[in-house]
């Protein structure tokens, strides 16, 4: 057996052990679980955490509970009003605009998360290669994430908003006709989602780059020796080894997407005809545009519940992935 073969078989063994949740940050095969006890250290740590927990409860807990209270009442921002039970939820669920917003929220989140992940991962893999000006390129690619949303959204709007904007004029010059990007529901959705992907891929790229840095080149070398193609290497080595980081980035991006108010509000305001209105935009418009506090808060509550459920599902997936 040559040294390369020995090394490769060792690596593949390690990889299969890793897939079974052994080594590489997972538990060792027969490591006993340490018995739980209240040590001085754990008590100290708990005491140190308490102020933060209290602060979080005060900042988030009280408003959250008050919001639930508001969603069950027919009031306004100042007064709670009369108790109406689930009437606000009934109103919201019978509103076709709500379901239109649900549909677009799902589309926005799914395409936003996976679109930005695909682009981010592709660029992270590309930037692993030795190339001229790599650092400069990395910095450049981070710009969409770094520049304030109000600036980038305004810039995008300036590019596409009116018939005399740059992109519509360019499209017309190319013989594509008069494309009114923010007047047509289909095109407006496309623009909003494209903007979100453009805005978010640097974050995904950073997450993927950090995860890829932990994957040793030896594994790829060994896989190449075993005759694995690039696609196989990507599918059987890269993806499993960065799975945990990927799930975390998905959760974070999902939270960013579902709570993203400013991008949509600045670009389209939720229009045309509410086609790009997500639940968070609808909630805002309902409370501050239509002065309907109860239904608006009810939308927020529904959104929160859904966000928590999706996050729980994804966290459970992470628990199953034993590779760090």
């Amino acid at each position: 057996m040559t040294s390369t073969q020995t090394r490769s078989s060792g690596v593949l063994n390690g990889l299969s052990r890793a897939r079974r949740g052994v080594g590489l940050g997972g538990r060792s095969e027969h490591a006993p679980r340490p018995p739980r006890r209240f040590s001085t250290r754990s008590i100290t740590l708990t005491l140190l955490v308490i102020p933060s927990v209290v602060l979080v409860v005060l900042i988030y807990g009280y408003p959250a509970i008050y919001s639930v209270f508001q969603s069950l009442h027919d009031g306004n921002l100042v007064e709670v009003g009369e108790f109406v039970g689930l009437e606000n939820y009934r109103i919201v669920l019978h509103n076709p605009v709500f379901w239109q917003s649900v549909e677009f929220t799902i589309l926005y989140c799914v395409v936003g998360v996976f679109g930005s992940w695909v682009v981010g991962l592709a660029l992270a893999l590309l930037l692993r290669k030795r190339m001229y000006g790599r650092s400069f390129l990395k910095t450049l690619l981070l710009l969409p994430w770094v520049v304030p949303v109000v600036v980038t959204a305004t810039a995008w709007k300036w590019l596409v908003a009116t018939p005399s904007s740059v992109v519509p004029r360019l499209a017309e010059d190319l013989g594509l006709g008069q494309l009114l990007f923010l007047d047509s529901p289909g095109l407006a959705k496309t623009i909003v989602i494209a903007y979100k992907i453009w805005l978010s891929f640097p974050f995904m790229m950073l997450m993927a780059s950090a995860a890829l840095a932990g994957v040793e080149n030896d594994l790829y070398e060994a896989a190449r020796v075993d005759g694995a193609s690039s696609w196989q290497q990507f599918r059987r080595i890269t993806l499993p080894l960065i799975a945990r980081s990927t799930y975390i980035s998905w959760i974070l991006m999902f939270i960013f997407c579902i709570g993203d108010f400013q991008s949509i509000y600045l670009l389209t305001g939720g229009g045309p005809v509410s086609s790009t209105s997500t639940l968070v935009v609808l909630a805002y418009e309902t409370v501050f545009g239509n002065f309907q506090t109860g239904p608006g808060v009810a939308i927020g509550i529904i959104m929160t519940v859904v966000s928590v459920l999706v996050s729980v599902v994804l966290f459970r997936r992470i628990k199953k992935v034993q590779i760090s």
Binding site: N76, T162, D183, T268, G269, G270, G271, F291
Partner: protein
């Protein structure tokens, strides 16, 4: 444009800066006036000087310039048990806060104005609009009237006369299209726009319609409204409306008019200034109200007002302060004479001022448009808090956006509007 510096000493003298003219309650504290940006920025600067110099016994004046959503700011302040003594802002805000019990009704102020002759100086029909079953929620100081404007050079180039009715309006739009200009432009973006929803309401009112019936119930499917929307759809489908209108913000309307891309628009009284043209010799001219197919004329109008709040160091002091402050805006010694108030005056003595008469567009709006203008509650004669939900709200924006998209029918668009207004099950009656 003249500044307000010249008016300052006169007004300070008028406001009773001596303790002998105090409210007599012995109360002390600050009478705070909260306002958004009114007219030019210069007005707010001058207003602050005047208000902070106000003194009535132990009561002093305080001024707060609000940025962002005025309603939200006041609402938040009231929730924190703070807030203004007197505030300006949106047209329906006084009605909204009155419903919440935060408004001190202005009946005593109105009675005083009736005695001192100020009330009789107002254009007829304005004060009744401010009245609810509990009293007057505020004092009007001006109106924001939407009128139809045209570019006289473009119409001349197109070889067409100034529209007088819907048929000639359509003919003018067709003629403008032939010379490569859009007949009509508006702004219906989901944020930072209002002209689109104003167009919708104005054309309905122009045809004797309106979103509410005579009892104040939502009645969007009224046949006159259907006719109005069909007419708008005809303009859109004919290619006479600037195709960007559905996503334009209000400033885009000014840009399109300024650049000669569109020939006609429904806009506010200060559009020549917004477009940087001279209201006397410039191209932008206000037309006379156009007649609908049944001979009706009309447009939408917002009644600008100041309202008093219950949280005050002195009710009597508030009322006196309110009369003084209103005189600044609505009176002939006030800001209208300085040309820094972006609204239409509502006092006959102010309208007669040479400074106002010097603007032919403004005079035409006052003479021809204000008398036929109606609030958004039309056909119902009173304003009510529910209008705040309807005005430029989701339902109206959706409706006008679908019309400007041209892929709907009048009944479908209006049904969306009707459903949207009724959706939250709120009572829209006064």
């Amino acid at each position: 444009m003249a500044g307000a510096a010249g008016v300052l000493p006169v007004l300070l003298e008028a406001c009773g800066n001596s303790s002998s003219s105090s409210s007599g309650s012995g109360a002390s504290g600050t009478l705070s006036l909260w306002d958004g940006e009114v007219g030019t920025g210069q007005l707010n600067t001058e207003a602050k000087k005047l208000v902070t110099a106000y003194k009535d016994g132990n009561l002093t004046g305080g001024y707060e310039l609000l940025t962002g959503n005025i309603y939200e700011v006041i609402e938040a302040a009231l929730a924190a048990n703070k807030g203004p003594t007197v505030a300006g802002g949106y047209a329906y805000q006084a009605f909204q806060f009155a419903d919440q019990g935060d408004i001190h009704y202005a009946d005593n102020v109105v009675a005083t104005m009736q005695k001192n002759g100020q009330y009789a100086d107002y254009l007829p029909g304005l004060f009744p609009q401010m009245k609810t079953s509990k009293g007057y929620v505020g004092i009007p100081w001006g109106v924001d009237t939407r009128a139809l404007w045209y570019n006289k050079s473009l119409l001349a180039k197109a070889g067409v006369g100034v529209p007088t009715d819907w048929a000639s309006f359509l003919a003018a739009a067709k003629a403008l299209k032939k010379i490569g200009v859009y007949g009509y432009v508006t702004a219906a973006a989901s944020s930072n726009s209002a002209y689109g929803t104003h167009t919708l309401a104005a054309f309905m009112i122009n045809n004797g319609g309106g979103m509410f019936d005579e009892q104040g119930n939502a009645d969007c499917m009224y046949d006159r409204n259907v006719e109005a929307v069909e007419y708008l759809l005809e303009l859109v489908k004919g290619g006479y409306v600037d195709p960007g209108s559905a996503s334009y913000v209000d400033t885009d309307v000014y840009t399109e008019l300024k650049n000669g891309k569109a020939g006609m628009a429904l806009a506010n009284p200060t559009i020549p200034q917004e477009c940087g043209t001279d209201p006397v010799h410039g191209d932008l001219v206000v037309m006379s109200p156009v007649k609908g197919p049944h001979g009706d004329v009309g447009t939408i109008q917002y009644l600008k007002n100041y309202q008093m709040y219950t949280k005050t160091p002195s009710i009597a002091g508030s009322e006196k302060f309110m009369i003084w402050w209103n005189e600044l805006f609505a009176g002939k010694k006030g800001f209208f004479a300085q040309g820094i108030t972006a609204a239409v005056p509502v006092r006959k003595s102010v309208i007669a001022l040479p400074e106002i008469q010097a603007d032919p567009q403004l005079v035409k709006i006052i003479k021809e448009w204000v008398p036929v203008a109606k609030p958004e509650s039309a056909r119902y004669p009173h304003i009510f808090s529910g209008l705040a939900t309807v005005d430029n709200g989701t339902a109206m924006v959706q409706c006008i956006q679908s019309i400007l998209g041209g892929k709907t029918t009048a009944t479908a668009a209006l049904q969306t509007l009707q459903n949207g207004i009724q959706n939250y099950g709120a009572s829209y009656k006064a």
